[in-house]
Amino acid sequence: MTVEATARTYTITGPEPELWYRDLISCLQATCGSVLAREGADPLAVLGAGWQFLHMPGDVRSEEFYYPCSAGQLGRALAPHHDLSARWWQPADEGDVWREVRERLADDRIVIAAVDNFHLPFRPAYGDVHAAHLVLVYGLDETRGVVHVSDAMPPAFRGAVPIEEFRRSWGSANPTDAQDAFFSDSEIGLRCLDVSLGTPPAPLTPESLGDCLRTDVEGFTTETSSRTGIAGYDAFAGELRERCRAGDAGALRELYPFGWAMQAQASLHGELLRRCGRDWDDAVLAGAGRAVETVAHAWTGLRFTGAHGHGDPRAAAPDIAHHATLLRAAYARAVDAVGAAAARL
């Protein structure tokens, strides 16, 4: 139920959204985590239960919240072992772009909105750098002319933003910005994301987590027609090396947002496995979690070598190849460790 203080004021009931954050996640996991926490779920258990590799050539967008998935399958990609729905939408009526926001808030649902940091006063990039980002909208007060926004990414913020500034951010063209080659040049276009859990998740048990891990290990060790698993990583890394040697800066611009998705997922999965290993007194499971976290940490080397080198991809090619090799080894070791842990669950 919502509180409709006036005919033009809408807000969710209960406390403000939780600021859910980890240092390797993006605004996508942070916003989804906040929504999950409000639904009474454990964000780490839902977003960390699955671990996959998927690269989709030509699909990468320059947005902080890019995540590789088939059309309409974002929820399944983020939480492959849970009934998570994540669906993009845009206002149907350009003459009243707030209608759907009002409806969702009136239905006590948080809205995840895409924004351009350039127009948001609480973001460090305000008035400086264009970058595509996600925030939570948990209230709309058209009488006072403010939108209530929550953002867990540093510097964390919860509060009111003038409606006109939010509207500019939400509707921004997010033009190409030389100061941010990785998250600009992607129209925001009033996009919003509905995220919800269907079936409430049962508490994790060794048996249920074992099922998740066995499925994921099979995904890593089975070749498919898509770039999935270890074979998919090899195809991705091989193409990345070739594009760098050919001087294709686009390869390194894409690497940063794509790698963030894979890095965030690995960090959450590793943390969950370590937590379960501790709680269940299973050192092998905890060690497998640590091995998956090493994958996340190896993504840093590859992503930042690319970020620093995107101005001269040929010069960066040897170090890109070096870090791609280290990351490949981390994946192989982690898949082996997770498989060994799963066999005991």
């Binding site: 240092d23 750098v129 540093p154 100061q179 890095q263 960090s267 190896a298 840093t300 930042f304 070598t305």
Partner: protein, 227 residues
Amino acid sequence: MVLSEAGNVTENVLPSIRGAWNPEKVFRDAGGAGKASALPVGRGLYDAIDISGHRNNTAVSAATETTAGEFNVWRNSFAAEYLPAGGSLVHVDDVPFRFPPVCEGPDNIRCSGQFIRVPEGRYDWIHVLAASERRTEDTVELSFADGSVDAEALRVSDFWAAPAWFGETKAFESLVMHYPHHVQRGIPAVMWAQRVPVTRRTGLTGILLPRNVAVHVFALTLQRTET
């Protein structure tokens, strides 16, 4: 909290100790990248290693000149007013480090496979003041006088408003983040004290840093084996 060279307790920002230690005087006989040399730190167990010849990045800037900083891709930097004076002797968990020069050019090594020669000797630990652009694990290779080489992990947590994921000690924290065009409150920048074990019981002669531009080393101190 840090200790100045004279052993006085300071709060990281005491204008009176700026320049109290003269790096030029201490470094005048140091060979930089090609020679091994230790800096005086006044403790029997520790050798602060001269890395001046390898510094290639500026991670600290003054509020009046934030454009000078270039720690990460977005040219963010630590705020000098929250850090020890350039060249001062600081202690973190009782380990002495020579803090790099501040606002006088490059202040850290952005790792790209530099080889740092050290005074040959038996050591138990390599202590580093470091920060990383996101959480990083990589490898340093330790060279020994007998020709052996050991790889050891160097793990450094994110400098960006992050916890000590690898159990490091938070050495210094800039409570604001410098951007090229403004000073940002609410985003701290953290410098960590991490350590790397030397397990081989023979003379260490050098340290090969990782080829990893995310890792930045500000100071390096060796802890000798106690006999």
